[in-house]
């Protein structure tokens, strides 16, 4: 592997990793606050990518302009799913929670297949093949934008959680449900808000992915799995863990894809998953024994 290919693969990996980070932050945020694994997570990315597709095809809207649309629509859907379904099983056996969310995942895939068709679709924007060359490294414009935007959203969300009142309330609930309630936080509202934010930023990842990307209604499954690997790697519920874990998995996949071929790179993620489960189940940022 020449240095040029080495760095090119690194860049490609980081670009993919940015998307993974965004999806995983959504998942880890929901887990951190509600202690529930959103098994339907990838489907919200699929929704995002289809929203971008239809906004582009029907209205001629540039995919990046449909980001607010995706945030509002998917955020509302997320809030409804949380209030109507997830909220009701928060104290149930984990088995019931997971079956419910697997049901939501199946239902969303079915609805998308019903309305959008099972056949693959691709949208083509005018600038999809344009490339920037920097230090001899090639960066496709849509992928560069996707990376920068995902970094921007991640940092913005981090700031929101760190410095705003609402963000502090979310962190308070994730630290202790009871204590947050005692100091007057409306815990159920925070739950709904967190689920909405978590699903909405996942939809943003879908929109960022949309230019020149093949989409099918069941594509979310793969992203769910990647997000699972990332959040376990970066410790469940840990924001920075999900962010860094996403970039790490993106880079590892890029190198694995280089050596193994694109389709089998998920095996590399699986190997990482098994290794974490065997040697450090609490993840990179977890305390031993948690």
């Amino acid at each position: 592997m020449s240095p040029e290919i080495f760095f090119q693969t690194l860049i490609n990996g980081l670009f993919t990793g940015g998307i993974y980070a965004l999806v995983s932050i959504g998942l880890t945020l929901i887990y951190g606050v509600m202690v529930i694994v959103n098994f339907a997570h990838g489907e919200f990315l699929t929704l995002g990518i289809y929203i971008a597709y239809w906004a582009f095809t029907l209205l001629g809207l540039d995919p990046y302009l449909s980001i607010p649309v995706a945030i509002i629509l998917v955020g509302l859907l997320g809030a409804m799913i949380q209030r109507g379904l997830v909220q009701q099983v928060l104290d149930a056996h984990p088995l019931n929670q997971i079956i419910l969310l697997v049901g939501v995942s199946t239902l969303l895939m079915g609805l998308m297949q019903f309305f959008f068709g099972a056949e693959p679709k691709t949208m083509h924007v005018s600038y999809e093949t344009e490339v920037i060359k920097l230090f001899g490294l090639r960066m496709a414009i849509p992928r560069l934008i996707a990376f920068l935007a995902s970094m921007f959203v991640s940092v913005g969300l981090y700031g929101f959680l760190k410095y705003t009142r609402l963000g502090k309330a979310i962190r308070a609930v994730s630290q202790s449900r009871q204590a947050a309630k005692l100091v007057g936080v409306n815990v159920n509202y925070i739950y709904m808000l967190t689920f909405a934010i978590g699903t909405a930023i996942t939809a943003v990842a879908g929109v960022l992915l949309s230019p020149n990307h093949r989409m099918i209604p069941t594509m979310g499954q793969t992203y769910s799995v990647i997000a699972f690997v990332v959040v376990v790697l970066g410790t469940m519920g840990n924001f920075m863990g999900a962010f860094l874990g996403g970039l790490i998995i993106g880079v590892v996949e890029a190198y694995a894809g280089f050596y193994l071929g694109g389709d089998v790179k998920i095996i590399a993620s699986m190997m990482i998953f098994i290794l974490i489960l065997l040697f450090k189940p609490s993840g990179l940022f977890g305390r031993q024994g948690t």
């Binding site: 694994v37 098994f39 379904l85 009701q88 099983v89 149930a92 056996h93 984990p94 088995l95 019931n96 997971i98 079956i99 419910l100 697997v102 049901g103 939501v104 995942s105 199946t106 239902l107 969303l108 895939m109 079915g110 609805l111 998308m112 297949q113 019903f114 309305f115 068709g117 099972a118 209604p217 069941t218 499954q221 793969t222 769910s224 799995v225 699972f228 690997v229 376990v232 469940m236 389709d263 089998v264 998920i266 095996i267 993620s269 699986m270 998953f273 098994i274 489960l277 065997l278 189940p281």
Partner: protein
């Protein structure tokens, strides 16, 4: 046939009733065998091979449902992507038959063995450290995606095309029959065996440990139950049965391919729906659920799926959601309530 009107015969009648319906567990077992018997005599009335086919698959779904019920229902282990082991059993059976000429009668059993070994490995990797339930569920779903990728690339097992049973003249050794009836009786024997195995496990000490682990793993461990051992055992028993079911499934539907079997939607239909509709953790749940699930799946496939794809996924998604929201104990829970109501008056009379 004797009538039970004469007073002299009443004690005998009472004893039989008590033996068959004395407890809720007994009642479930009796009803299970009643349903198996009904399916066994159904060809007397139902002549159409199409409907016989539906009954065959319903009984197979019930058998597979039992295999998942032992892991998820009894032990509470979130082996969501159970269909992995169905696929392994299926592939084992068809590879042994096509590539080595080994009879499916043996191949199906080998499918169970291979699936149980794989299940044991998965259980040891994931359950060894007492990992949280969620992690186990995540791991199985990730494994499913990895298996699909692997099998799509693996030319020895047919790659993306999958493997087909060579159509040959009927032969008992190769489990190829001209009529559907032999398939029906093989699947019913499997189901009866599944019902008995499930009941014996439920009644055994091991079964009590399984349920203790489901209810409160930390408490079970504190009382001296070797939770890792019993969780691994539950997974291995469940995956062994799934492997056997997968072996017969492939022989019956005559093909297997990676996208068709390593698929969460198919998993929802074949593995999860029946026990959840019927009542996860109950003895009769998987059977009751399969008798509702399979006919509905057939109706969708025959009437609606042609019109628009995605309907199957929508229906199964709604099934899973509705079961958890409105009927967490399933159909068995409803029947249990009726059973309790029927029994209470007699108690009051005795008092």
């Amino acid at each position: 046939m004797t009538t039970v009107t004469s007073s002299r015969e009443l004690p005998m009648y009472n004893r039989v009733v008590r033996r068959l319906f004395g407890s809720w567990d007994q009642t479930q077992l009796t009803f299970s065998f009643g349903l198996v018997l009904l399916m066994a005599i159904s060809p007397l009335i139902i002549r159409s091979p199409y409907y016989i086919g539906v009954i065959i698959l319903a009984s197979l779904y019930a058998f597979i449902g039992i295999s998942w019920n032992i892991v998820a229902g009894f032990t509470g282990q979130l082996l969501i992507a159970h269909i992995i082991f169905l696929g392994l059993g299926g592939y084992t059976t068809i590879v042994l038959l096509n590539n080595f000429g080994i009879s499916p009668w043996f191949g199906i059993l080998m499918g169970g063995v291979i699936a149980a070994i794989a299940g044991g490995i998965v259980a040891l990797i994931t359950l060894r450290y007492g990992l949280k339930l969620d992690y186990f569920a995540l791991f199985t779903i990730a494994l499913l995606v990895a298996m699909r990728t692997l099998f799509l690339k693996w030319e020895f097992v047919g790659g993306a095309v999958g493997m087909y049973l060579r159509l040959e003249t009927p032969s008992v050794a190769k489990m190829i029959f001209a009529s559907k009836l032999p398939y029906l009786y093989i699947s019913l024997i499997l189901l009866a065996a599944g019902v008995i195995i499930q009941y014996l496990i439920y009644r055994s000490k091991m079964g009590k440990y399984f349920i203790a682990i489901r209810e409160d793993e930390a408490a079970a461990a504190a009382l001296g139950v070797n939770t890792t051992l019993y969780k691994t055992l539950a997974v291995m028993i469940g995956t062994a049965l799934a492997g056997v079911g997968g072996g017969f499934y492939v022989i019956y539907v005559t093909y297997i391919d990676p996208t068709g079997i390593y698929n969460l939607g198919v998993n929802a239909e074949i593995v999860m729906a029946s026990p959840i509709i019927g009542g996860l953790g109950s003895l009769i749940g998987p059977l009751l659920g399969a008798l509702v699930n399979k006919p509905i799946a057939e109706i969708i496939r025959a009437n609606l799926a042609e019109a628009r794809s995605g309907i199957t996924l929508i229906v199964y998604g709604l099934f899973l959601i509705a079961s958890i929201m409105f009927m967490p104990r399933g159909l068995a829970g409803l029947i249990h309530n009726v059973y309790d109501r029927l029994r209470t008056p007699t108690h009051q009379e005795e008092l």
